[in-house]
């Protein structure tokens, strides 16, 4: 029997509106989660502190504070250090994936993602 889970909350940080919209559809409709969005690393950091989501999906390539820099800040702040972070990236080389997980990311998902599968992939990475 599936035990009713509390509604999980996911923070999605991506500078591209289209990606945020599509991912949100998938995470809400298929994941059944609540979704918060941020369009920059800076905005994401603020929301992470204020809302303390259950997980963060983080774009790698962003102007200003990019993905890795945002992750470093999240890890440096005790208030957000324990939130699992999953990178979203088009850069798919193995060596780079290692680099992201070495920085403390819980996993890496490849862009472009299939909206029908994204929620499941997130759940798999996080062990939900």
């Amino acid at each position: 029997m599936t035990r009713p889970a509390l509604t999980r909350r996911v923070l999605l940080i991506d500078d591209e509106e289209l990606i945020r919209e599509v991912a949100e559809v998938s995470l809400v409709k298929i994941g059944g989660w609540e979704v918060l969005t941020a369009s920059s690393g800076e905005e994401g950091l603020g929301k992470a502190v204020a809302e303390h989501p259950d997980a963060i999906l983080l774009d790698v390539m962003m102007p200003g504070l990019d993905g890795p820099a945002t992750l470093a800040r999240l890890k440096a702040d005790p208030a957000t250090a324990t939130i699992p972070v999953v990178f979203l990236t088009a850069k798919v080389r193995q060596s780079e994936q290692r680099q992201w997980t070495d920085l403390g990311a819980a996993g890496v998902l490849v862009k472009p993602f299939d909206p029908m599968l994204l929620a499941k992939q997130v759940a798999d990475v996080l062990g939900w």
Binding site: T2, P4, A5, T7, E16, E17, L18, I19, E21, V22, V25, S26, K29, I30, G31, G32, M61, A90, K111, P112, F113, D114, P115, M116, L117, A119, K120, V122, A123, W128
Partner: protein, 680 residues
């Protein structure tokens, strides 16, 4: 229905959730489509700047970024082709290395395709009915495979790219490719089993193998498995695509072709449905007046005529057909709903070979048509093959040429003719004897069949001469292709029956349809002239037609007139032009240009490269003269401007120039413009 408490796996599998998500995604696509198309504009802008050699780092980076985002967005919506196209463009603009100019033509085509893809409405789930021939690409390197796929799509073929043998097998479950490009690697992973399966399918899939320099592979084994041709893996994706296109065309040439005339489209549809699965290509014509054009274009092996058409009767068409010596031997089968004695007599009296009753019954029609074809086949093979070399003979070549010429017209493709002649063949004959001479011809024929099989048309033209029809190739392409062949011939040791071995070479000339002439006879003459010069220059070389001064053809038109007072620039230009197979002529000043192009003994030219600042008459004045004399109707002008000054450029374009290039120019860019101007 799955509830909110269920996991994503279960919810994703729920059809209602699936539909809801699909609907929302479709709405989002509609919302972002405009934005994505706007991003393509940036790519356009960057390519235009690149062509004009004014692409700065900022624009390059923006283009890279927009392409990157397009790749991501399109892929997210399942638009994989658009995503691949964008990815390829992203790579073009990426990184610190200078952008590769040779990639520009492909990139321009890719941007166009990308725009089409993004503008097209969402497809309903799976792929739509596909009538383009499919090419299966099996390549371990996904990126390279993708690039080949794009090049194929750019040439009008459908492609399916897979990375592994199992993936290729899965693809075969849903589609039947005409041609497969298979990276053989080291021959492992059961790749040869895949080749066997492909060759064993009905109709068989023509397999072209990509071989790498390092991979070990037994070619004999590969040929036994069914590989029909080898291509070096080092070829550019566009070249590989070109080979695939030629093979597809040839595969279609190899099928029996049937031309059917019936005013009832449903009868034609029935013929297609019945005969195409039996391996025939059916061209249907509903209006009898289209018959002759269709006959020339499709050069059918058999004609099916409807007896009772309202306008022109089938009997009438058949009589006309029989009266023309070119078609007198063509099998004709009638379709008729009347089978009275008079009708049957009239049908045979008009020259028909057989008749089939309407309504058409499948097995009867297939049997009658294929009987007819099988009987002609043996006769035809005997009549069309040169017995010594196994190559086509001249008659067959001429028939095939007409077909290729019609295709070249219809699809706006180049078509070249090459004439080769073995060097010192008389000496071979007198030194070793005629038997050895024949043996050499045989071995050359074999080599040609191996290298050109399934692709272009190769024929023994007579004596020790061989003719090639090179579809999709310009004169310059042809020279390169035939030079490669020359290399292979030179490297091959000929062996006499007595066991002596020696080497032979040939000389060749190449002419291009519409550039050097419009009839096979003219093209042959032009190629022969070039061949003559190749011999005179010491043999063992291949030359394009018409670049030799002082020959018979000197009074003919030139491709490009270069009007340039600077000797160094002029030399650079004429050298580049002749290297690309164009005939060029240079004049030093404006007056000479006007005299040459408008005078009593004018030389028609297709393109003028006109320097704007000239001594005496300047470029604007020359343009003005050309326009007044009506020269600009047939001749295009690209102006070379010393400064990229906008008023100067505008003035030149208003005066009738089609394009401008700023000095100092990049030679590859300029040549690209020249090719475009001459192609358009």
């Amino acid at each position: 229905m799955a509830g909110p408490a269920d996991g994503p796996t279960k919810r994703a599998a729920d059809p209602v959730v699936h539909l809801e998500v699909a609907a929302e995604l479709q709405a989002l696509w509609g919302r972002f489509q405009g934005q994505m198309l706007a991003r393509v504009e940036t790519l356009d802008e960057a390519l235009a700047a690149l062509v004009d050699a004014r692409l700065d780092d900022d624009l390059r980076r923006r283009a890279e970024r927009e392409a990157h985002r397009l790749a991501g967005s399109a892929g997210t919506f399942g638009r994989h082709r658009a995503s691949m196209l964008a990815r390829s463009l992203e790579e073009l603009f990426a990184g610190s290395t200078p952008v590769d100019l040779t990639a520009v033509p492909d990139a321009l085509a890719q941007v166009e395709l990308l725009r089409d893809e993004l503008a097209s409405p969402p497809s309903a789930g799976c792929s739509k009915a596909e009538d383009r021939p499919l090419v299966l690409v099996v390549h371990r390197d996904a990126e390279l495979g993708g690039a080949i796929g794009l090049a194929l799509e750019a040439r009008g073929l459908a492609s399916h790219v897979t990375e592994s043998v199992p993936a290729a097998r899965a693809a075969l479950g849903v589609a039947h490719p005409a041609v497969a490009l298979v990276d053989l690697g080291d021959g492992g992973d059961g790749v040869l089993d895949l080749v066997r399966e492909l060759s064993a399918r009905t109709p068989p899939v023509v397999v072209l193998a990509l071989t790498s320099g390092t991979g070990f592979l037994d070619r004999v084994e590969a040929v036994r498995a069914g590989v029909r041709g080898f291509l070096p893996g080092s070829l550019a994706p566009t070249e590989l695509a070109g080979a695939a296109v030629a093979t597809v065309e040839a595969a279609q040439l190899g099928r029996w072709r049937l031309l059917a005339v019936d005013d009832d489209p449903s009868v034609l549809a029935a013929l297609v449905a019945l005969l195409e699965p039996a391996g025939l290509t059916v061209t249907g014509v509903t209006e009898p007046e289209r018959f002759w054009a269709a006959l020339r274009e499709s050069t059918p092996d058999l004609v099916v005529l409807d007896l009772d058409m309202p306008e022109v009767s089938g009997i009438e068409l058949c009589r006309l057909l029989r009266a023309d010596p070119r078609w007198a031997a063509l099998p004709v089968v009638f379709l008729t709903s009347h089978v009275g004695r008079d009708t049957i007599e009239a049908v045979f009296a008009a020259g028909a070979d057989d008749y089939v009753r309407k309504p058409v019954i499948g097995p009867e029609l297939v049997t009658r048509v294929s009987n007819r074809l099988e009987r002609t086949r043996i006769l035809r093979i005997l009549a069309e093959t040169d017995p010594l070399t196994g190559l086509a003979n001249r008659r067959k070549f001429e028939a095939q040429w007409n077909r290729l010429q019609a295709m070249a017209e219809r699809y706006d493709q180049p078509l070249s003719f090459a004439l080769l002649d073995l060097d010192h063949f008389r000496e071979v004959n007198s030194h070793y004897g005629h038997e050895v001479g024949d043996c050499v011809l045989q071995q050359i024929g074999q080599l040609l069949l191996e290298r050109f099989r399934g692709e272009d048309v190769v024929a023994r033209w007579g004596g020790e001469e061989i003719a090639l029809a090179l579809y999709g190739m310009t004169r310059a392409d042809g020279v390169r292709r035939v030079s490669d062949l020359l290399q292979a011939v030179c490297n091959k040791a000929m062996v006499t029956p007595a066991g002596q071995s020696f080497r032979v070479s040939f000389s060749g000339g190449v002419s291009e349809y519409k550039v050097d002439g419009t009839t096979l006879r003219d093209l042959c003459r032009r190629a022969d002239e070039a061949l003559y010069v190749a011999k005179a220059l010491g043999r063992e070389r291949v030359l394009p037609a018409g670049r030799q001064p002082g020959l018979k053809g000197d009074d003919a038109s030139v491709d490009v007139v270069v009007v340039e007072d600077d000797d160094i620039v002029a030399e650079l230009l004429t050298h580049a032009l002749s290297g690309s197979g164009y005939r060029s002529l240079r004049v030093r000043d404006g007056q000479a240009a006007v005299d040459l192009l408008t005078g009593a003994s004018r030389r028609p030219a297709r393109l003028v490269l006109l320097d704007i600042s000239l001594p005496g008459l300047d470029g604007f004045t020359v343009l003005e003269h050309l326009r007044r004399e009506g020269v600009l109707e047939a001749t295009r002008v690209i102006v070379l401007t010393a400064r990229s000054s906008e008023p100067e450029i505008l003035r030149a374009l208003e005066a009738g120039a089609i394009d401008h290039v700023g000095k100092p120019f990049s030679l590859p860019v300029l040549m690209q413009r020249v090719r475009r101007a001459l192609a358009g």
